[in-house]
């Protein structure tokens, strides 16, 4: 039954999921916008972040260490992946880029499955945020509230990097017109590596922050990847504000539809995406830079 408390708690769920999707999608979208590569292994990055954090948590028992380890590890994986493989694909057609990142995603998932089996793993929420909080009309898991806060901070950091640093300026310029940036004598090689690392790190960070909410499985990245795609299509490829807006919209659609009938959550998400494609083919806040 739809009641006020129920509605509110779903609204909060939507916010938490939306914030998370916003962060992951920002990573995907800045990589695509700057490098022109759609990383199909982005969902696997999210999963890797969760597992790396899980390992760190098991070793140290500290959630903070787990979050740092998860984000850093995936950032490093991203940089290595870019150096060893992705950079050879900048000059190749989109299909090849999709194929190779798709293959890498399989490799990551299967490596994790090899070491951790298919059984799910859990990371408990930090003691500071355990339990439930009263929000007046209802009680809500404290950690989920904290997720909104943590992710909001991460998004702010990403925003500052993108809009207040030299690197961020190059990234945004690259999204608008990559050829021009190349010809301005900027060392795009190093920028590309950093962007790929930062984008992957965003997904890895989201992975470990989300770990106490859902249990970890090797193929958890797949459904996240699909949701991320919808977010990016809704928000507009290459747009950081678009990713945030799209993430929040997608999160709320999934949560609020689930309240009525969970089986229609994805149908509604898809309907929203179709609507956006009909009305604004380039996404709500998309630029025409990359096609």
């Amino acid at each position: 039954m739809i009641t006020w408390p129920n509605f509110l708690s779903q609204l909060f769920n939507g916010l938490a999921l939306g914030a998370l999707l916003a962060l992951i999608s920002s990573g995907l979208t800045i990589i695509y916008g700057t490098l022109g590569v759609l990383n199909l292994a982005h969902g696997a990055m999210f999963m890797l972040g969760g597992y790396a954090g899980y390992v760190a948590f098991e070793a140290t028992g500290s959630f903070i260490v787990a979050v740092i380890a998860g984000a850093l590890f995936v950032g490093i994986v991203g940089v290595v992946m870019e150096r060893v493989i992705i950079r050879h694909f900048y000059g190749r057609p989109h299909e090849d880029q999709l194929l190779v990142t798709f293959g890498l995603a399989i490799c990551f998932v299967e490596i994790v499955r090899f070491f951790f089996s298919s059984l799910s793993k859990t990371v408990p929420p930090p003691s500071l945020f355990s339990g439930i909080t009263s929000l007046g009309v209802m009680f809500y898991p404290t950690y989920r509230l904290a997720v909104v806060g943590i992710v909001a901070v991460a998004l702010l950091v990403l925003f500052l990097v993108l809009y207040r640093t030299r690197l961020g300026m190059i990234v945004r310029a690259g999204i608008e017109d990559s050829t021009m940036v190349d010809s301005l004598g900027i060392n795009v090689d190093r920028v590309f590596m950093l962007v790929f690392g930062i984008g992957a790190m965003a997904a890895g960070f989201a992975g470990i922050v989300n770990a106490p909410v859902v249990s970890l499985t090797p193929d958890m990245g797949e459904s996240i990847l699909v949701q991320t795609f919808v977010v990016v299509v809704i928000g507009g490829v290459g747009s950081f504000p678009g990713a945030v807006l799209g993430g929040l919209i997608a999160g709320e659609i999934i949560s609020l539809t689930s309240m009525v009938n969970p089986s229609y959550a994805y149908v509604m998400l898809f309907a929203a995406m179709t609507l956006v494609l009909m009305v604004r083919p380039h996404g709500l806040l998309g630029t025409r830079g990359r096609e």
Partner: protein, 633 residues
């Protein structure tokens, strides 16, 4: 097994005959190679699924990660009819499943094809995921949800005198092999049809395919529906093969497996997916059972796949083909193009004179007539613009251009860099729509029309930067352009033969001779010299026999010798045709054009005969004396 080229040198039906032979031989050979009959049947189903996908991905260049949606749809419709609805006839149920999948494919395609490239890939992934959830929940009553639909019957065929029952294993094989054979025969016809040619063009250069007059959206949708039909049939056969329709057919893994198999076997070959499926299933059995790797066999597969994409981008078949060419290439040294042979020590002037002398010796190809000769009696200008303007935000690219070109005239357009020539040209061909003003072509208002429609009316352009179909041969390139004129912008002659299209080979041959590329007709564009590519660029525009031809810097980047040749070429094609040429080579332009329009800062500065332009003070001013050099040269 080479279905790559449009004009096959192989005897007709050879590929078909070899396929039939192969399919007949398989049950006698493969058991000795430890292939279980069920594995072989499965390979056939994947192979059939992949034929359609290869037409979409390998031929049209559209990488979909959502084929599972259509595979599942076809499979569940057929399975539902046979198990729940009490439908008795297996083959009819399979056909219905295929048709439903095609219809669903049409609807999905309408949405997914609104965007291209990675957007298309993302949208197909999302759509497929929705199908999976819909099968599981809202439609669980019909589809059995996570249980799938058990008890799918096998087909039997009543021949009157005897009834053929196909049950399982080798007994089902002939039925599946027959389906595969029919599938491949139809697919071979499709990829060799005019539609197949256009699909390749879309893969190579969608913008140019649209600019030469093909409705590329319609053709992409066609490829999507074809792929959907193959997927639907294959899905139905999966149910028959397993006597059970599994919900896993709808998962992302299904789409992923199809993509991987096609990439492993070789895209754009039709047989690649079959080979890829064989490799996949063999690897799985071998690594899982023989090597005892269990579930981690997929890790090996993932690594193999990444390496393959890295080093062997055209898959196994592509690799074998390259190896074959390499070996043959060593045996017979290819004839080098003797395009560039500048004698050292000659000045540009001397070289140009020598070139002129040689060009004069060459036989001039007869000019190709422009289409609609009847309309050449049309009075008034063939092209007219009134008040044409284009703003980009606050930037004014063109302002209030009034411009008219007479029937049969050759008009030159000059102007310094940034004068708005290219924007003006783009507006004339409707690549860019004006902010204000009107364009009429042959008395018809074409403002706001699409590039494709305008090209179909007989107005086309050769580009400043070559826009060719790079992996196709010269002949194939011109064929694609000529097809647009001969068939209109969209026609579903999926099973027609290219060779049967009236006037096609003549028109292509004529264009080849006109642009002096007859000797290089079967060379891929990527192997042409720059000057040859430039001539092909003009040829692409010419092959659709336009009545008004726009040429955007046809002489840019050419050597003196090439310039002389090209000017001669342009002169010959200008007979009976109206042309507008933008170029910076004043000497050539003054020689070619009857009248010259000069643009400056987005406006028409002056217009007149070459002599008037040469003497005009404003022109000299605008070019800051740049004209003098040319005039005295």
């Amino acid at each position: 097994m080479n279905a790559e080229r449009l004009f096959s040198k192989l005897p007709p039906f050879l590929v078909e005959a070899l396929t039939a032979l192969g399919l007949i031989v398989v049950p006698f050979v493969l058991p000795y190679l430890d292939f279980a009959p069920n594995t072989v049947n499965r390979i056939l189903v994947w192979g059939l699924f992949g034929i359609g996908f290869d037409i979409l991905f390998g031929y049209t260049g559209l990488l979909s990660f959502g084929q599972s949606a259509l595979y599942g749809t076809g499979g569940f419709v057929a399975a539902y009819l046979l198990t729940q609805a009490g439908f008795p006839h297996v083959i009819t149920a399979l056909m219905i499943g295929m048709i439903v999948a095609a219809v669903v494919g049409y609807l999905v395609g309408l949405i997914a094809l609104r965007r291209t490239g990675i957007y298309f890939a993302m949208i197909t992934v999302a759509i497929a995921e929705i199908f999976y959830f819909v099968e599981f929940n809202p439609l669980a009553e019909w589809t059995g949800g996570e249980n799938g639909l058990p008890g799918v019957p096998t087909p039997s065929l009543n021949l009157g005198f005897a009834t053929l029952n196909f049950t399982s294993g080798w007994s089902l094989y002939p039925f599946l092999a027959f389906c595969y054979f029919i599938g491949i025969v139809i697919a071979l016809r499709i990829v060799r049809s005019p539609v197949g040619a256009v699909l390749r063009a879309i893969r190579e250069n969608p913008l140019r395919a649209a600019a030469v007059g093909h409705n590329i959206h319609g053709y992409k949708l066609t490829a999507f529906v074809i792929a959907a039909a193959y997927a639907g049939l294959a899905g139905g056969l999966l149910g028959v093969l397993q006597a059970f329709m599994p919900p896993e057919a709808f998962t992302f893994d299904t789409s992923g497996q199809l993509v991987i198999q096609t990439a492993i076997g070789g895209r754009g070959t039709l047989f690649g997916p079959l080979l890829g499926a064989a490799v996949w299933l063999f690897l799985r059995d071998f690594l899982q059972a023989t090597m005892g790797l269990g579930a981690s066999w997929k890790l090996v597969l993932g690594i193999v796949f990444v390496l393959l994409v890295f080093f062997l981008r055209q898959g196994i078949i592509g690799g074998v083909r390259d190896l074959y060419r390499f070996v043959r290439g060593k045996a017979a040294t290819p004839v080098e193009p003797k395009e560039e042979s500048p004698v050292p020590g000659l000045t540009a002037e001397q070289e140009q004179k020598a070139a002129e002398a040689e060009v004069a010796r060459q036989r001039a190809a007869a000019p190709m007539p422009a289409r609609h000769p009847a309309r050449s009696r049309l009075t008034g200008p063939i092209l007219q613009t009134t008040g044409l303007s284009k703003h980009y935000g606050g930037l004014v690219a063109n302002a209030d251009i009034n411009f008219a070109v007479k029937q049969g005239e050759v008009r030159g357009i000059i102007g310094p860099n940034g004068a708005g020539k290219t924007t003006f040209f783009k507006m004339l061909t409707c690549e860019v729509h004006p902010s204000a003003g009107k364009i009429t072509f042959e008395g018809r208002d074409i403002t706001g029309m699409s590039v494709t429609d305008v090209c179909q009316l007989g107005l086309t352009k050769s580009y400043q930067v070559n826009q060719l179909f790079n992996r196709l041969t010269v002949r194939e390139n011109l064929t694609i352009a000529a097809l647009a004129e001969l068939r209109g912008k969209f026609r579903l002659d999926l099973l027609a033969r290219l060779t049967k299209i009236r006037g096609l080979s003549e028109q292509v041959q004529h264009t080849l001779e006109l642009v002096n590329l007859a000797g290089r007709a079967d060379t891929p564009v990527s192997q042409l010299a720059y000057g040859e590519k430039r001539r092909l660029e003009v040829g692409l525009a010419l092959a659709s026999s336009p009545s008004l031809l726009l040429l955007d810097e046809p002489l840019a980047g050419m050597s003196p010798r090439e310039r002389v040749e090209t000017v001669k070429l342009l002169k010959s094609i200008s007979q009976g045709r109206t042309m507008i040429i933008v170029d910076h080579d004043m000497a050539s332009l003054f020689e070619l054009a009857e009248r010259i329009t000069m643009l400056h800062e987005g406006r028409v500065l002056v217009e007149g005969t070459p002599d008037e332009i040469k003497r005009n003070a404003d022109v000299q001013e605008a070019y800051l004396g740049g004209v003098h050099e040319v005039v005295h040269a």
